[in-house]
């Protein structure tokens, strides 16, 4: 790295992943850097390996070659949970434990990595209000929420942990336009609150959406990652 440059936050070097149980490569020699403050979109056809790449970036799977650097260093085994608390991957289909919305939102604070921090409902309320949330839903079973509500809760569960990077795997797939916009606004607002520190990489199939949410677009296809045009970043 050249002197004077800031250390990139998350850097994939020569990353290569095979399909589980197959010889065939999903991608190889992949280079990707997510700088602090980045608003990035990841495009590409189904089956190109976008989800696998996001899993690899969150160290949820091990790749077959290459390495991942976090603030210039490889993540030690014992440091993986702390890394994942800083680089949070959000599943395409939100997953909840049995219990109410509030119980699910409290759950991460029971993890050792978040010890010393406390669940703060007041902090979440403005975010909920912003997304048109009905207050009675706090007490509802999280597993009985509608698709859009589930996405909002899953997003807020991650956002309240103040990660440095959110890896969003098609969070608005199968949602109506209004809910889609609400979720976009939530993420954009979250990033804008600390624009030099918070970053996201958002997997999307919609060029319109990419134009609304991202400054930079990347396309994963045929095993390679290339720059993709973003019509209008704002």
């Amino acid at each position: 790295m050249e002197p004077g440059q800031t250390t990139p936050r998350l850097q994939a070097q020569d990353l290569g992943c095979r399909l589980p149980g197959h010889e065939e490569w999903l991608f190889r020699q992949l280079q990707l850097t997510i700088e602090p403050g980045a608003r990035m979109a990841l495009l590409g056809p189904n089956g190109a390996g976008k989800t696998v790449l996001l899993h690899a970036l969150a160290l949820l799977i091990g790749c077959d070659e290459g390495q991942l650097l976090w603030r210039g260093k490889r993540v030690e085994r014992a440091g993986v949970p702390a890394f994942r608390a800083a680089v949070i991957y959000l599943h395409q289909t939100p997953i909840f434990s049995a219990g109410t919305v509030e119980e699910n939102l409290r759950q991460p604070f029971q993890l050792r990595v978040h010890q010393g921090r406390q669940f703060d409902r007041r902090r979440l309320e403005p975010w909920f209000e912003q997304s048109g949330w009905n207050p009675r839903l706090w007490e509802q079973s999280a597993r009985e929420l509608s698709g859009g509500e589930r996405q909002v809760v899953a997003l807020l569960r991650a956002m309240q942990l103040d990660p440095a990077i959110l890896l969003l795997d098609e969070p608005t797939a199968a949602l109506d336009p209004a809910t889609t916009r609400a979720i976009e606004d939530l993420v954009i607002g979250w990033q804008a609150a600390c624009p030099d520190q918070r970053a996201y990489l958002w997997v999307s199939h919609s060029a319109d959406q990419v134009a609304r949410i991202a400054d930079r677009g990347l396309r994963l296809a045929d095993g390679r990652l290339r720059e993709a045009a973003v019509v209008d970043g704002r």
């Binding site: 589980p20 149980g21 969150a58 160290l59 949820l60 799977i61 091990g62 993540v75 085994r77 993986v80 949970p81 702390a82 994942r84 608390a85 949070i88 991957y89 959000l90 599943h91 289909t93 997953i95 909840f96 434990s97 759950q107 991460p108 993890l111 050792r112 990595v113 978040h114 569960r157 991650a158 942990l161």
Partner: protein, 259 residues
């Protein structure tokens, strides 16, 4: 002993074996199509038990610790294999996990029984060592296979949930705590149930055997209680062991689900 119980001849055994005809008649009359299997089962049981009888007869006669140990190892090996055979769950390390946990828990508890509780002299006396180990193994095997099966199913059914917790910064232990807990609980429940109904629904097998052999009922009950406590401890240890070992194999050291 000769005074306290009636010895059986092969003639008497043959007489009892004739009773299998009752099962055969029921099968033929109701067209259950079980006659063939019935015959195989009856012959197999007879051959198996007679073989075991002769092996035990030989081991009792030579009275050497090496022979007791060798038979114990063979029984443990078979128990480990059967425990895995009873579950459809297959994962890396399942055989070694089953063998190690059954071996460690059963032998520890059997050693405690022989050396500390019953205080058998010498410790390997086949009359005590083999049946005690056999009963402990048989029950530990149940717990281990139930624990293995439940852990596999829980992990499979809750894979997304486990991955969600990992993604939020959970350690593999934090993410798998629920499947581990459920699996250990499942493995321990049959022993608890057996303890609750012991003596009410039926007399436990060992106690019945001792009564037939002429042992004084209160003594037979004491032995039965001791063996139930041994079984409970070994089942708990074996189940916990196999679930923890399976957990160890299911995750990598950097807190990922093994592919």
């Amino acid at each position: 002993m000769g005074d306290s119980y009636l010895e059986l001849t092969y003639g008497q055994l043959a007489l009892a074996a004739l009773l299998v005809v009752i099962n055969g008649i029921i099968s033929v009359v109701l067209r259950l199509d079980l006659a063939g299997r019935l015959l195989v089962a009856a012959v197999r049981m007879t051959v198996q038990l007679l073989l075991v009888g002769y092996v035990l007869h030989w081991i009792f006669a030579i009275d050497r610790w090496q022979a007791v140990l060798a038979l114990g190892l063979l029984m443990t090996w078979v128990a480990g294999i059967i425990a895995v055979g009873r579950t459809e769950y297959r994962r890396r390390g399942i055989w070694i996990s089953s063998l190690i946990s059954i071996w460690a828990s059963s032998w520890l508890v059997a050693a405690l029984a022989l050396l500390v509780i019953v205080q058998v002299q010498p410790w390997y006396r086949p009359q005590y060592a083999i049946p005690l180990l056999g009963m402990i193994l048989g029950n530990t095997l149940n717990g281990v296979s139930l624990g293995l099966d439940r852990f596999g199913r829980e992990l499979e059914a809750n894979r997304a949930q486990v991955e969600m917790l990992l993604a939020l910064g959970a350690t593999s232990w934090e993410a798998a705590r629920q499947p581990v807990r459920e699996a250990v609980r499942t493995g321990m429940i049959p022993t608890l149930n057996a303890m609750l109904i012991a003596g009410i629904v039926s007399l436990p097998g060992m106690m019945t055997g001792q009564l037939l052999a002429g042992v004084e009922p209160i003594q037979a009950v004491r032995y039965q209680l001791v063996i139930m406590f041994l079984i409970a401890a070994s089942t708990a240890l074996g189940t916990l062991g196999v679930v923890l070992l399976s957990f160890r194999w299911a995750f990598t050291t950097d807190h990922r689900l093994a592919r």
